[in-house]
Symmetry: D2
Subunit: 422 residues, 4 copies
């Protein structure tokens, strides 16, 4: 595989090609193939972007058919047949069955664009600058989205321009099991000199992906919703990684029975790996003036075609959702065993997650890297997350076959065994 | 055409559907077709995103062929065959022939992501917070890119969080013909108490698209390059709208013989309307640590496939470039006539532009809106730009046929006649 | 008393004249006299500025003698005999006996100027923007000092310019007795994605004056010092209100055996109510370039004359310190009784404080205002503090006579009785 | 003279003691005396703080008399007899005769505190963040006042926290005689994408002191007033250095017939070198809530005593004002001669100023430093200003005797002669 082109021309900023230094040429379902023809099971899946697998055939068919008719590919935010199809599919298959009444904003096609738009709107509506985020939260790294993003790697490397307008409070479990972190949040909210400016919004992930598969309790989420409501604070759920079925329901907040004021989706929203995002908002919050937020790629019609196809294919009934729950249990059990083995071997580890968003916390980035590295040697692509990269994270396609899942888990078990063996 | 779905579900922020309130279903070359089968000549072309026309057949073929082989669609920033193909095409067809030596960063796939990345890197390299921009410049609206963007519509509506780290100096011609605005910039740079913090970078468009087709002189650009060099300031050319051949050369700065430290491209970079952007930078500026800038859609392989195809199809020789220059002259002459007619009718107007990036400044948004509105009635899509929307702007596909160009210009002439007639 | 002049000409921003709406004409020791000749016991003492009483005779003598010789009054930061006298008195009587080795910066003559200077220096030395403060901390309201100040009243009323570069963590006791808030701080410091940018400094009051007489434990302070040291964070003690003997030692941090990296003093530093402040810093932190921080009134010689006189008069031995401790106990006991009486009457209350910095927390600003109002009717000036004004605060002169102290406490008891009686 | 104490204990930030490395012990009128008994003529006068001279006898008498009666020295912002006396003197002697109707805010006692208060109020009233300042303007260095202050020395050394909410436009004459800089300002104000956010206020010095004795034209000021009025922008005149008679009238803007919305005074306001400042504002702008801006030393009664005495002594008629104008002409003529001599000797120089605020611009800091240094050797204290310290600046007491003025000018002439002679 020729890699000199990359080494010569690509910025040092590249990352994944450091962990997986091969050139990939093909991808199908839960499998990636490199230029030497070697196949890999993919537990990374575009960091949660490929919930329906690589080159999902149904979605690809819809895409190619659309191209064949010379459908509009790029139309800024003009009205197109594709956009109407997406809106209607979203309404019929997702919103109405869940009694959700939202308007849709299409910002730029990435998660960080969606976070920027939602944050700006929340500030505009409430006329307050502060956005409360939670420890280990991740919402993007453009300057607006970075304000409520916890990672020092990005926050402290902006060249002398600190982020403005974000504050952090502890996520569920951050202070140990004995403490409900919302007690602290609530105390700060009621405190006129506690240093927490009354926020326009709280932005939260129900399961933190980049933060290390931290799972918020369903009661905690419900209480958070109540606190926001009581204090006139908008609740924004960033469902960019946990949404689109990842946790076993379309929206991850459904488990908790929460109704956010705004919802962010991206990553698997197009279903095919096409850049796409939307902001859902309660209708009364739609206080934008025409054109007050824009972006060249804010209505990417190909993504809306595949997004609509994905909804029709997978969300007309609960088959996929139940299957995710079933597979999630499989991964949970296998990960628990791995955690036990590691712990027994003197490497304390624990399992956590919801649905097919699962991780093994091995407490150090070093051990996690070793496991990921060994797994790659044996044909499994799996990444680490968490503040120190200490969590081995499974984000396999939701549509992975049982056979592929088994293969991936077996490889992981081999990798762990080798790491334990030293 | 059913539009209630949009009216009910789409955020008020929508804009183009207000000027062109129909539902488009097909697009080919320089033509858009609505659901009633009505055809429109497209002088908007995705605000400069479709330089090679809608559904360009060569590019579409490359895209569909790639999909047929299950090529990798989404791979974060992993190495793929598609990425190598793009890098090599860029190197062979664009960089080497122009004696340019740049490294490539793929940030998020939109222009504002590219601006954020370049600005952050400039600050990091120079350890200075200030980025100098020019009056009427536009570089995106995420909070980082907004700092050097001039539009109050965005700047003043961020909900109580002012942008940080941008300063403005007058663009070429801003103070009238008699004054070289760079005199002022140079004086400020040398002044220890002038209020201009020594900038990390200057960011400039050689022709300002959103700002109203303001064209910088080639000597002015060359002098700007010298000033930046002498003051240890990076020169960033934002070629997002003016690049990819729009002005008659691949990079708009080639006319001036300038070699920027960084270049931003997006919009027509993929050639097919697919979200894509890159930052080019002198190799010694590539001081990123691995992973210090990221984004889920930063390596969109489909876009790289069409981008490579576009380079091969249109930039292997200078045929397209010369054709753009030829058509540019046609538009220039016709626009000059229209400007004269408007002026004679008591509506002072003037023409300006470079290549196929051209506008008629009619001095008020009201008149420009009327012209655009009348044009739409007659089957031409053309937008306005400038601080008050006072410039009717032609960004037709570079590949527009002479017949289509003629048709579009004729419609515009009819529209102008009707507006003059009252 | 003629008050129309004030009502007509003075800004609405005035506050104390709303609680104490008389015109004062004379002041001696712990007594203020209004224009009608009525005398008041002063438990406010310039909000802690008059530790040695109004018009302290020894200090006044030094001041008048200096004026008689035409000593330099204002000399920017030029060297004067008065400055040398102050520096030497500070060194001999305060620093050396406590084994403290500090350099002195004279910023503008107010506490907020000192906070601005210290914060800026900390950022400069550590090349980090973040300053950690504690809930309910108060350090001034100019924009730099406001960043680590908790009060929404100021923070949220800056006209659309949020403060930049401050973060808050919970003060000792903020989360209840069972939780050591430094556990949380320490966890955040070690967390690469917790949202707390690695701080340049932590700024803390050992007893929070404006925040409501919140008293940090001595072990908590000592542990804080250790955490700062271990994490390369500067520890700044804001001793503006708690210093100059208020807690029973010259510096309030002496109780804990802590040695801060920087110390802020102001308020009672001149001893005579003259505007004055200094920043003390470990010598290696003095990385200022000449002139990098300035201010017209940064070397107010009259204040240095009285400051030196105060040190000589009161800090040549421990007489005053011991007397403060003795009187502090008197106030503590009497306040405890008042708190019990209030609690018994259904108004839950508690006493807290250190030395002669003491308060009764009555839990609502309404009750506290009533007590303060009744006290004023009976001839006692006493203010409230805390986030909601819920703490009746005693900051009487340290030099108050036992008779005056008794009188003041008696009036307060009468006031409480009346409030209980309804 | 013992200076080791300073060298050991004082922060490196010290400046004036580097130019004038002696220890001063006495000061009278326009004369300073060092500990060796050497006398210096003082053309610095506390950087404009001692308009009425050191230890002005009338003011000292008022001060000592007040102290003798145990008048209130420090009373936060409580009403005192001293404050009423000051308010009434200001009203009767200054405001009413000039038909000015202002309310008074007493912020912290320094100029930067006044600037912070005025800026915050302007933002609050107009609900806009931007404050427009002018090139080479200086308004203080706390973070809020620094936003509209031009000096890189301070702006670029805030440790990674850029100032927020200030923009700069060119001061009168900045772009040469042929260009009215207000044309540019007006164009930016009317430009929706020029990058200048609509400002809450413009803040300007009529003669820039720190900026290098730059003198704005009276018509320019009047036009600025009109532009502000037409664009709903508050006009804040920072008269901290140019006010209190320095230019030949009490307020420097009287020359232009301008009525600012707010006025800042400090420096010579107390008349005796005591820290003091006020903000004057049109009554309808007084939209402060009680306590929304505070500060321990905001009502320094001793300063109000001397301020009232100064008004009574010097502003009951126009004797002083006329005398300032007369002496200003003397300095002007002598400075013009010096400028000619320097120019003739190959060191291009020019004179400028208004009243007794005058400078010789010698174009390099090096020459200016030499002149100042030689002058000091011969017994004259005179400082430099301007972005590069290139302007030798005369701010002698307004009450200087003709003999002292002559002596100072003679020394300066000697110094210039020596510098020319090499």
């Amino acid at each position: 595989m020729q890699t000199q082109t990359f080494e010569r021309m690509e910025s040092n900023v590249r990352t994944y090609s450091r962990s997986f230094p091969v050139v990939f040429s093909k991808a199908q379902g839960a499998r990636l193939t490199d230029e030497n023809g070697r196949e890999y099971i993919d537990f990374l899946a575009g960091a949660g972007t490929l919930n329906y697998g690589h080159n999902n055939p149904e979605l690809k068919k819809a895409l190619v058919d659309y191209l064949a008719t010379d459908g509009v590919v790029h139309g800024l935010d003009m009205w197109t047949s594709a956009k109407r199809e997406y809106f209607e599919a979203l309404d019929e298959l997702i919103l109405k069955p869940r009694n959700l009444d939202y308007k849709i904003q299409l910002p730029g096609p990435t998660g960080t664009n969606a976070a920027e738009a939602a944050i700006r709107l929340a500030r505009k509506v409430k006329q307050r600058h502060n956005i409360v985020a939670f420890t280990n939260g991740f919402h993007g790294i453009t300057m607006g989205a970075l304000a409520p993003t916890g990672n020092r790697k990005f926050r402290e490397n902006t060249g002398g321009v600190p982020t403005v307008g974000g504050s952090f409070v502890p996520y569920d479990g951050y202070m140990g099991d004995a403490i409900d972190t919302l007690d602290y949040f609530e105390k700060l909210l009621g405190d006129k000199s506690g240093g927490l400016d009354l926020p326009a919004a709280a932005i939260v992930e129900t399961v933190q992906g980049e933060g290390g598969i931290n799972v918020s309790g369903l009661e905690w989420l419900k209480r958070l919703e109540g606190i926001c409501h009581d204090n006139d604070i908008l609740l924004i759920i960033d469902d960019i990684q946990a949404g689109c079925g990842r946790t076993g329901k379309f929206f991850s907040f459904e488990h908790a029975g929460v109704v956010p004021d705004m919802v962010l989706n991206s990553k698997s929203l197009s279903g095919f790996g096409l850049p796409f995002s939307h902001v859902l908002m309660r209708p009364e919050l739609d206080q934008w003036e025409p054109g007050q937020y824009n972006g060249t790629f804010r209505g990417f019609n190909l993504a809306m075609i595949t997004a609509a196809a994905a909804l029709k294919q997978y969300w007309s009934d609960d088959t996929l959702a139940k299957d995710v729950q079933r597979k999630g249990k499989i991964v949970e059990e296998r990960f628990q065993k791995l955690a036990s083995q590691l712990t027994d071997a003197g490497m304390p580890a624990s399992e956590r997650g919801r649905g097919l968003m699962r991780g093994i916390d091995v407490e150090t980035g070093d051990i996690a890297d070793k496991i990921s590295g060994k797994a790659f040697e044996h044909g499994l692509i799996i990444e680490t997350s968490g503040q120190d990269g200490e969590v081995v994270k499974c984000l396999c396609p939701l549509t992975i076959t049982d056979e592929e899942l088994e293969k991936g888990l077996s490889i992981l078990e081999t990798a762990v065994k080798e790491v334990i063996g030293g």
